[in-house]
Amino acid sequence: MAEPNLVLNNPGSDTTREQDVIARVQRGQTELFYELVRPYERRVFAAALAILRNETDAEDVAQEAMLKALANIRQFRAESRFSTWLIQITVNEALMRRRRERTVVMEGIDDRRDDEGEYTPRDFADWREIPSEALERKEVRQKLAEALATLDRKYREVFVLRDMEQLNIQETAEMLGISVASVKTRLLRARLMLRDLLAGGWERGWFSRLPFEKGSKPW
């Protein structure tokens, strides 16, 4: 029977336990499946959102992808990470949804630009580090999300899969169906563009407008 309150809050710290639960779901204990995917549900949503740019569609695709994962759980092989397998299904599902709905037309012009050509950083002022603690503030997270949303699709997708989903370069290339070289080029551009966006925002004072106490640093 299913173990009540099975929680896998810390993926990676207990791979053996995760593999055990996967095996049980594969044997038919489908009621354990949500507990299995719960540690990765945010990453699954983020992958779908990076491709679709619409929260409603991303949530729907995330759900559809997890249902597909459940239906095909027997095909999962332990040689790959379970999280990567889930994200792969999600990316496939999101790409199919986008093709079906032809949203690529809406932002496809920029994608025809060649990846080649160097990107020159715009801002060379000393970088004032934004510490991780600042992410506790919703306003900071919101600004970072807005900056990410301004990137063209091809840069945003690569950046999200590599830097947010923690996939490696090869996995990112395979999921998106592009070359490793393209991943590296797009990743460079995405990182440098975000840096410029955040540095510019910093200089324009978007952090200073946050409701921090007068005279104190926000972190």
Partner: protein, 212 residues
């Protein structure tokens, strides 16, 4: 070997991402390290890029809509139930189908062989616990025997009365309507239950599979 003096800012920027990935050859890496010590502009680009990666890789940067997890769980629970129902539907069909196949196979064997099969169609069953001296009706051209007054007696003008023992001996079988209480329906039901119990839910993804 790349000399630090040979490295210009325009050569460093395209490699900053690879540098942070640890994906530059040792010579270039050493040259870039040296360059960052002397070039504040490139150092600012490096530090900013590193900071960007650090911030966006933080779990807190991935936010989901309110109630996302609850809705996902509900959808998955429903999905699991549908799969389970799908299985139940299949098994519900499989049980009688499997029983019929078994029965039909029995009929074929009975018709093509001299070996009597213990389980045949209802029409071919010898009946169970029929009083041997019970008076029954048979008629020409029919294979069943009936209790008097049965509504499905054919060729009534050729009716004749005999005992059940005699009718069975002559190859007649109990009428499925009026002699139902003596038929071996219990045997059919038991076989169906056995088949159901023997069908494993451990099936492939798209269907079901019986072990036997």
């Amino acid at each position: 070997m790349v000399s630090p003096k040979d490295v210009k800012c325009e050569q460093v920027w395209p490699e900053i991402s690879n540098y942070l990935e640890g994906d530059v050859d040792p010579g270039l890496r050493a040259a870039m390290d040296e360059h960052f010590h002397t070039c504040q502009k490139c150092k600012a680009v490096l530090e900013g890029t590193r900071n960007v990666i650090q911030l966006y890789s933080d779990e807190r940067m991935i936010e989901v809509p309110a109630g996302f997890g609850r809705r996902l769980e509900r959808r998955l629970v429903q999905g699991a139930r549908v799969r389970s129902r799908g299985w139940s539907t299949w098994s519900a069909w499989l049980v009688p189908v499997a029983a019929l196949v078994l029965i039909a196979g029995g009929v074929r064997i009975a018709n093509s062989s001299t070996v009597a099969h213990p389980l045949q169609t209802e029409h071919a069953q010898p009946g169970r616990d029929i009083p041997p001296d019970m008076l029954v009706i048979v008629s020409t051209g029919a294979k069943d025997f009936h209790v008097p007054g049965c509504g499905v007696i054919h060729n009534k003008d050729t009716e004749r009365t005999l005992t059940a023992k005699e009718a069975i001996h002559q190859g007649y079988v109990p009428c499925v309507r009026c002699m139902r209480r003596y038929l071996q329906t219990a045997e059919v039901e038991r076989t169906a239950l056995e088949i159901e119990a023997d069908i494993s839910p451990d099936s492939d993804d798209d269907g079901v599979r019986a072990r036997r």
